[in-house]
Symmetry: C2
Subunit: 246 residues, 2 copies
Amino acid sequence: MNAPTISAVTCGDCPIRHRAVCARCDTDELNELDAIKYYRTYEAGQPIIWSGDVMNFVGSVVSGIATLTQTMEDGRTQMVGLLLPSDFVGRPGRDGAAYNVVATTEVVMCCFRKKPFEDLMVRTPHIAHRLLEMTLDELDAAREWMLVLGRKTAREKIASLLSIIARRDASLTPKGATNNMSFDLPLTREAMADYLGLTLETVSRQMSALKKDGVIELEGKRRVTIPDMGRLMEEAGDDSDGGLIG
Amino acid sequence: MNAPTISAVTCGDCPIRHRAVCARCDTDELNELDAIKYYRTYEAGQPIIWSGDVMNFVGSVVSGIATLTQTMEDGRTQMVGLLLPSDFVGRPGRDGAAYNVVATTEVVMCCFRKKPFEDLMVRTPHIAHRLLEMTLDELDAAREWMLVLGRKTAREKIASLLSIIARRDASLTPKGATNNMSFDLPLTREAMADYLGLTLETVSRQMSALKKDGVIELEGKRRVTIPDMGRLMEEAGDDSDGGLIG
DNA sequence: CGAGCACTTGATCGCTTTCAATAGCTGTGG
DNA sequence: CCACAGCTATTGAAAGCGATCAAGTGCTCG
């Protein structure tokens, strides 16, 4: 439905122009990308890529949210990445997908057929360089996440996730307000559990506990407001009181 | 003591020549790297970089093993990377170190001052490309590790770590023997615990249990032999029975 | 021989999981 | 309009796994 609208977009007008893998491209390079790109829309809940499948394309998330998950044969699943607009999907130089990618909301992808993109990458240091930068950022995020998974309590895990989402949300809506921020949770309790290595019951319990203790406020199931961001960070064990005078 | 010996090595003779960040460099590029490189040796237990410090250099591990760890204020620590020969340390484009890097054994590093290396990287796609490749591999490893941390039991965690080390060891000593492999654990029980998000007591108990059940054999504290690699993989929950007929 | 260190083993505690029931919401159909 | 299915989320009770606290072993080194 919005695919037609979006396929008319030229790279210059793209909402993720300055953050995606193409961020550093000049006009000529954008034209080359323009020539090999196509848009594709996925509905909420729909798989985008399944682990083990052959990847014909790589691409960027233009809008919506997708999850990267790994599963064991007995069904245990662990989320290993949360894909937001401008995030890159796929690995140049590899044919098979290593993870499941599933659209959590409706997702619009800007896709490039893999081979032409790889060829272009070789000729275009700007793309390779930006991809390196993005990959290093993802690696940092993965490592922070490892600390959460390995060493934090359930309560700290929830607080960590909420503060990550809150910070990201704040960076998108440049309200500048550090206090009293609120947002819609883009994840179900089950997805939160898969993110944090918990069960959904534990997630629910800890959400209730944080609410009871006044760390967060809930309207309905999904709307969260954070009355005191510093307090949330303390609960996350991050203790980045980092701006205070003391 | 061996620094003089090693500093005489030219890149062409370097043991990690074909796997490190310089792997794809041609002779001219190697000469440029040669001009800005220097070797440095760290003793076992010695910190190489401390989180928050200014990084003056980046570099490759030439020999030895180092750990990348993150810590919380209360002392909880999580290993987020295990650095083996050819692995790259430091992040081009960032000044402060994000993690603690500690030598586990004696470590020899091939260092490059950061600024000249960054300049060289801009002119040398071979380096940037190889670094991208290595970073993507690290990201994959980190994500596999996240599944271990988030969803596996203590027993599965230990089995996973042992199978990772065993596989790595097998790839270095190309004996081709899939069964009856043995190796020295490069990590203390505490380091294993920090790797796996466990306590050292739990690590010890599960090692004993795996020994009792015949999954592993121990000589002394550190020498491990794996009588049946397939069995170990099963215990790890990886179920890569991948070669069987059924 | 005793100090120091890495490791092992035991007993108990408590957090998270598991199992189970219930609530709230949405959409469908009689 | 209400009944009901289907889904997500909440809450309770009990069980289990790994953490914690605490000894004890074996080794190396002075």
